[in-house]
């Protein structure tokens, strides 16, 4: 039987870096804010796990300079540059050992680099893919195209996802894009990488997200065991698919399916659509939310379009997805996946403000990384301790 771990504080600074402050200053402010919210002192932290991208940050070992900002002096500091959400996974594993009781988890993306697409292109091996000009967006276009043609998905379904999320994002004070768009506007926006249109894509945002995790024991000491007083990690799954796009089934989010299976098994979840109250999904494009519905078992393969058309993932549906507006409204690139967890934690603790889904108790957060969503993680959060 695994131990209990709870998220007792989240903080997020949006549009932070590049705003006349140094990246380190923005991180430091967010860390102080999250510790305050969690009611956990800096002294009480016994592990710090960050996740950062050296190439996004323009710091060859980004954790060096940022460690001080995290309060890392004299502490146990690790960094997981594979994905923002992996910092949370590692902190959770450490707390499960019983040897640690309070963890700080932080990820960020500044916008100090001239072009994120160039950074992404550097993820290509130099032999077969680099010269093709492949980057996240192009790989997501390949994937959306494969999905669309495999299941005959109408572009309108993706446009409806974008319209739903942008309407939600308009209510989120932390979002970069706060103006709603209609499905027609989405369909009329220019093609960026077929079949992806401009309004189906996330913006480039800057931001820092921080979470404080504690052991069940520490949560009790902090008086956070009551319903809605903390977000308990009930299931976690993460997985990495093949790098080679040519040998993957691009029409499916394979590693998301296996990450979800692991997380559901751990949380004892059998009917996610019925049992979950809210989901925060990492939309690398609007099409990917449809694909995520299927990989997460909200519907059968190829049925994602029907789910959005029926409004079942809308604000009044059975399972509202991305009430925060999701990554189509705010996208601090490397940290976006961890922002989904922060939003889910806000939902199950009733702190989501204007984005709150009434009575949300059980939430799913999804995070994605790499070309054509190569890596995926799933977190099941509950507002109840047991």
């Amino acid at each position: 039987m695994l131990g209990q771990v709870a998220i007792v504080g989240v903080a997020q600074t949006s549009g932070a870096a590049g705003n006349g402050r140094t990246l380190e200053e923005c991180i430091h402010d967010t860390v102080r804010e999250v510790l305050g919210r969690a009611g956990v002192t800096h002294e009480a932290l016994d592990t710090i796990v960050a996740a950062s991208s050296d190439q996004v940050d323009g710091r060859a070992i980004s954790i060096m300079l940022t460690s001080g900002a995290l309060g890392g002096y004299g502490k146990d500091v690790l960094d997981t540059p594979s994905a923002g959400e992996h910092a949370l996974v590692l902190a959770w594993l450490r707390l499960l050992t019983g040897a640690y009781h309070a963890a700080l988890v932080v990820s960020w993306s500044g916008l100090e680099v001239n072009d994120l697409r160039t950074v992404q292109n550097l993820s290509c091996d130099p032999i077969f893919h680099r010269q093709l000009g492949l980057h996240d967006l192009a790989s997501h276009g390949l994937q959306a195209g494969a999905y669309q043609s495999r299941y005959g998905v109408d572009a309108r379904a993706a446009a409806q996802v974008a319209a739903k999320n942008r309407a939600a994002g308009a209510r989120n004070p932390l979002a970069t894009l706060r103006t709603p768009v209609s499905a027609e506007e989405v369909l009329d926006s220019p093609v960026v990488a077929w079949p992806l249109r401009e309004l189906m894509l996330p913006p480039d945002s800057a931001g820092v997200v921080a979470l404080v995790l504690v052991s069940g024991e520490r949560a009790a000491e902090l008086g956070r065991r009551g319903a809605g007083r903390a977000a308990w990690l009930r299931g976690v799954g993460w997985s990495l698919d093949s790098y080679w796009l040519g040998q993957r089934n691009l029409a499916e989010l394979t590693s998301l399916r296996s990450a979800a299976q692991r997380a559901y098994a751990m949380a004892g979840l059998r009917q996610p659509l019925a049992e979950l109250d809210v989901a925060e999904l990492h939309d690398v494009t609007a099409y990917h939310e449809l694909m995520a519905y299927e990989a997460l078992g909200f519907c059968a393969a190829g049925e994602g379009a029907r789910l959005i058309a029926e409004g079942r993932t809308g604000p009044d549906g059975a399972l509202p997805c991305n009430p925060s507006g999701g990554s189509l409204s705010d996208n601090p690139y490397f940290a976006t996946g961890l922002v989904r967890v922060a939003e889910a934690a806000r939902q199950v603790t009733g702190q989501a403000g204007a984005c709150q889904v009434p009575g949300a108790r059980l939430a799913l957060a999804h995070a994605s990384s790499g070309f054509a969503a190569q890596g995926n993680s799933v977190f099941i959060l509950s507002g109840e301790a047991d």
Binding site: R59, I61, S67, K75, L78, S123, L240, Y243
Partner: protein, 394 residues
């Protein structure tokens, strides 16, 4: 709740060289993985999760190259990567340890590789680790950062250039007995002293090479380890401690620590000893494999283990105390000074400690080892990971 026991049951490492043009990065990772799985006597299907060790991406010229390397460790498994600079390799093994100690997994693979030779000169990349506001233009790099430490250690404890050379002579002697080491030619004290100055007082033969190759470790839960491995290396303690970032903060009368020393490494060892239940390191530890990329840094690393008082390592080195057949052998593999594939350098420290405990170190085996320690340093002498391995599960 008692933590689950975890052991190293297998390891693999390339024969390291300056360049490996015959293989891509991902293929080098595979090389280490194949050797480690063979050593552990298991197939990839037994691996429940993977931890990847990759330090600055720029050294191999591929961003998030762990994604490219996914194939090498088995697709559709839980995988994450660690990066704490030079400490990455030991941080990754520690992360693997947590995967199992948490109760979630039974067998975990920790793997990585480096092709430092492909980035041209590592120090050009390593200039970009510094603060872009105050330090990068100077220009700092990993060599002069530790020259600055050497100068302070000399002033504080009387270390000389000859003392630095003694470390190299010892480590090259050991590396000559380690078929996987990169620099395997023995050298004399005079050769070290006569080698060209890089950043005074560090000379070419005080410095580590840039190496290419792969390495991997297989960790297992107690149940699996007992089944598969006749003499596993039990992970008895892990420690981690970070220093402040700015080197200038480690100088002057009000500094809480000194850039001459490795204070946070000392704290890290203390944490690992506490977990392992060690209180008299000099008597309880049989061999130490310490991350020391330059000859001078071996001294403050030894001091930090607590086997002697600060600065006393210099006197003990004069008397052969740390040699392969001495009372407290340090870096029986030849250490980082002889082999430095940055992403996995600190993993090699763990692998060597494990080989010593498992009595599989061949010509560089220290007799009768039961308990060994390993360390890794990363950042600007900033992140310090440590481990205690033992043949006794405790």
């Amino acid at each position: 709740m008692a933590m689950r026991r975890v052991a190293i049951i297998g390891s693999g490492q390339s024969r390291f060289r300056f360049r490996r043009d015959d293989a891509t990065y991902a293929e080098l990772v595979r090389e280490g993985v194949r050797l480690a799985l063979e050593d552990a006597g298991i197939g990839i299907e037994r691996i429940g999760a993977v931890v990847y060790a990759l330090a600055p991406d720029a050294l191999i010229g591929v961003s998030n190259a762990e994604r490219w390397g996914a194939e090498a460790v088995g697709v559709d498994k839980p995988m994450m990567r660690l990066n704490t600079g030079g400490a990455t390799g030991i941080s990754a093994v520690q992360a693997g340890f947590y995967h199992i100690a948490s109760g979630l997994f039974d067998v975990v693979l920790v793997a990585g590789a480096d092709k430092v030779g492909e980035c041209g000169h590592a120090q050009v990349v390593l200039n970009k680790i510094w603060d872009p506001l105050y330090e990068r233009a100077l220009p700092l790099n990993a060599i002069n950062m530790l020259s600055l430490s050497a100068v302070r250690y000399m002033a504080k404890y009387g270390m000389t250039e000859e003392h630095m050379a003694m470390t190299t002579v010892k480590n090259r002697h050991n590396a000559a007995r380690n078929p996987n080491a990169h620099l395997r030619d023995e050298v004399t004290l005079q050769q070290v002293l006569d080698s060209p100055t890089l950043c005074w007082p560090i000379k070419r033969l005080d410095a580590c090479p840039q190496s290419s190759g792969g390495a991997a470790v297989v960790l297992a839960s107690e149940e699996v380890a007992r089944k598969l491995c006749p003499r596993p290396a039990w992970v008895r303690g892990v420690g981690n401690c970070a220093e402040s970032y700015f080197m200038g903060d480690r100088m002057g009368p009000k500094a809480p620590q000194d850039h001459a020393d490795a204070t946070a490494l000392g704290h890290s060892f203390q944490a690992a000893y506490r977990m392992a239940g060690l209180s008299r390191p000099a008597e309880e530890i049989d061999v130490a494999e310490l991350y020391a990329p330059f000859s001078n840094t071996e001294y403050h690393a030894i001091d930090a283990t607590g086997v002697c008082a600060k600065g006393q390592s210099v006197r003990l080195m004069e008397r052969g105390h740390f040699e392969l057949d001495g009372p407290f052998p340090v870096n029986p593999s030849g250490g980082t000074q002889c082999t430095n594939p940055i992403a996995v350098t600190a993993m090699l420290r763990v692998i060597e400690a494990a080989l010593q405990v498992m009595h599989k170190a061949g010509e560089h085996q220290v007799p009768d080892v039961q308990t060994a320690i390993a360390s890794g340093n990363g950042g600007d002498h900033q992140f310090f990971g440590t481990m205690v391995l033992s043949s006794d599960p405790g």
